[in-house]
């Protein structure tokens, strides 16, 4: 018999970690070329969640486009809102009043905590620590209650408007937020007890998915994935927007660039966000919450690019205006889309079980990648 191809030949096996899979967070298809258990090549196929958001940006007016953007990165909807509103305000030459800026800052940082809690829960459950997921969602529930009390929705919040915010703070807001911020560091300590020094967690995440700082910068990686590789770059400190320059916080940075470092970076970021909110909650000034501008938004002809630090990385908006009520081109720079390109570099040479860990550590949201 000639060289028959049996099941156990040492040749390549192409496997599709298909769109329906419990661990690809969303509908992502990863085509893996395997040699036994080792990954030789990984190719991502995206587009299963494409909804034409950028085309809608050309049809809907500037004010109408804001709720559509919530659906992009549905976990960090407040950041999407903030980025877009700031971009249009820059185009119009309008600044939101200080009270609105404080409200925006507090809500965005709470949203950062929300997003990182969801990341932690799903990452842990992929690697088998199922209980952490439930604990994270309990904390997340508290923040979502705050969002619901403030703007009426939990996930797709549509909190801010161009020029400020729509909703005035509700009665009991400061107490509710203060109570949450007081309890939160203890809860983060609990997650750390369960995972950070656990030998199984260390074995699963140390030296898995290493990417060096130089490679990360070359690939355009941003956000905690970049900071895990040792590059100190955070848009809140490098190019401050909103009123971040008035607050005192640190940027955690890793050393090796593996999954464990990215995990530690995000855990520390949660604590720093809580620190920012605890500083801001005492200092909210009085005043109007909406800038004085016309109801119909017709920016001057021109284009602008503005980016913010969303929980996933650098979220950028490039708006081209032709003077009418709808944008000529509304382009979004999604951080997860750019971060996903580094999947191949991180995964080649590891085992199949590590692919799941690496996808989790990149913290991708398919809504953002496919738009």
């Amino acid at each position: 018999m000639a060289q028959a191809e049996t099941l156990f030949d040492a040749s390549e096996l192409t496997v599709s970690m298909g769109p329906q899979h419990p661990s690809t967070h969303g509908v992502l298809q990863v085509k893996l070329k395997l040699d036994g258990e080792r990954v030789l090549d990984a190719e991502c196929v995206i587009g299963y969640l494409h909804r034409g958001v950028e085309k809608l940006g050309e049809v809907q007016t500037y004010g109408q486009f804001v709720p559509t953007l919530d659906r992009m990165d549905y976990i960090a909807a407040v950041s999407n809102c903030l980025g877009y509103c700031e971009t249009i305000e820059k185009l119009l030459g309008v600044t939101a009043p200080p009270r609105a800026q404080y409200i925006r800052l507090i809500m965005t940082e709470l949203n950062r905590i929300t997003s990182h809690l969801l990341w932690l829960g799903t990452h842990a459950i992929d690697l088998g620590a199922i209980t952490t997921f439930l604990y994270c969602f309990r904390e997340r529930e508290e923040i979502l209650k705050i969002f619901e009390n403030y703007c009426g929705a939990r996930l797709t919040t549509h909190m801010f408007r161009i020029g400020g915010t729509q909703y005035e703070l509700y009665e009991g807001f400061q107490d509710q937020v203060r109570k949450f911020i007081q309890d939160f560091p203890k809860k983060v300590d609990e997650y750390e007890t369960l995972l950070t020094e656990n030998r199984i967690w260390l074995d699963r995440t140390k030296d898995v998915g290493i990417i060096s700082g130089k490679d990360a910068i070359d690939m355009g990686l941003t956000g905690p994935s970049l900071r895990g590789s040792g590059v100190q770059w955070d848009l809140r400190k490098a190019k401050p927007y909103c009123i971040y320059s008035e607050f005192d916080f640190d940027i955690p940075v890793g050393e090796v660039g593996d999954t464990y470092d990215r995990y530690l970076v995000r855990m520390e970021e949660m604590r720093q966000s809580a620190r920012i909110v605890s500083q801001a909650i005492d200092k909210i000034p009085d005043g109007p919450i909406m800038a004085k501008m016309s109801k119909i938004i017709k920016p001057p002809v021109g284009d602008i690019y503005h980016s913010i630090e969303s929980p996933k990385g650098e979220l950028g908006y490039y708006i081209v205006s032709d003077g009418s009520t709808a944008a000529y081109r509304a382009r979004v720079r999604p951080p997860s889309y750019v971060n996903l390109q580094s999947l191949k570099k991180m995964v080649v040479g590891h085992m199949v079980a590590d692919v799941v860990a690496v996808i989790g550590t990149l913290d991708i949201v398919l809504g953002e990648i496919d738009r």
């Binding site: 709720p67 619901e148 007890t193 656990n198 955690p252």
Partner: protein, 156 residues
């Protein structure tokens, strides 16, 4: 600031310290007071006042007439074009509302229509249990909107 990478010392490894700490934490959580579950539908959740749920047209409590002035601002504000307002001019020249359709299947509950309405007529209520049997039923007409979506009372 640099993050602190942890490593297990030999003694910690030998005596399974990290594993036991995790076990202690999960054991402690088994008390009934730590339970965080709401037994829906037996227990109704507490909905915020500003919750953006099912839409509703309000009537004047005294006269019973609709508060809608048929300004069409809600239809213009909606990103999904779910609202259709029909009006006619009465002999005095004022607009009077005739038909009002709201397509709930296309609505994303963003609240722009509620913000745009100059009167307290259009409001997004706290109803979220809006299941219906077909897409045709989802185009709510004026009568359904004025009655409002009825809450379902569960007996068990």
């Amino acid at each position: 600031m640099k993050v602190k990478r942890r490593d297990l010392s030999l003694l910690k490894r030998l005596f399974l310290v990290d594993l036991i700490r995790g076990l202690k934490l999960t054991f402690g959580y088994q008390r009934p007071s730590a339970n965080y579950t709401e037994q829906y539908p037996k227990e109704r959740p507490k909905i915020a006042e500003r919750f953006r749920g099912a839409p509703r047209l309000n009537n004047d409590p005294v006269t019973g007439e609709t508060l809608c002035i048929a300004c069409n601002l809600c239809a213009l504000a909606c990103p999904e074009h779910c609202i259709e307002v029909g009006w006619e001019r009465d002999p005095a020249g004022k607009k009077a509302l005739t038909t009002y359709t709201f397509d709930v299947s296309r609505c994303m509950f963003c609240g722009l229509c509620e913000d745009a309405c100059p009167t307290p007529c259009l409001e997004l209520t706290q109803e979220f249990e809006m299941s219906l049997y077909g897409r045709r039923d989802m185009k709510l007409d004026r009568k359904t909107l004025e009655e409002g979506v009825q809450p379902v009372i569960y007996l068990k």
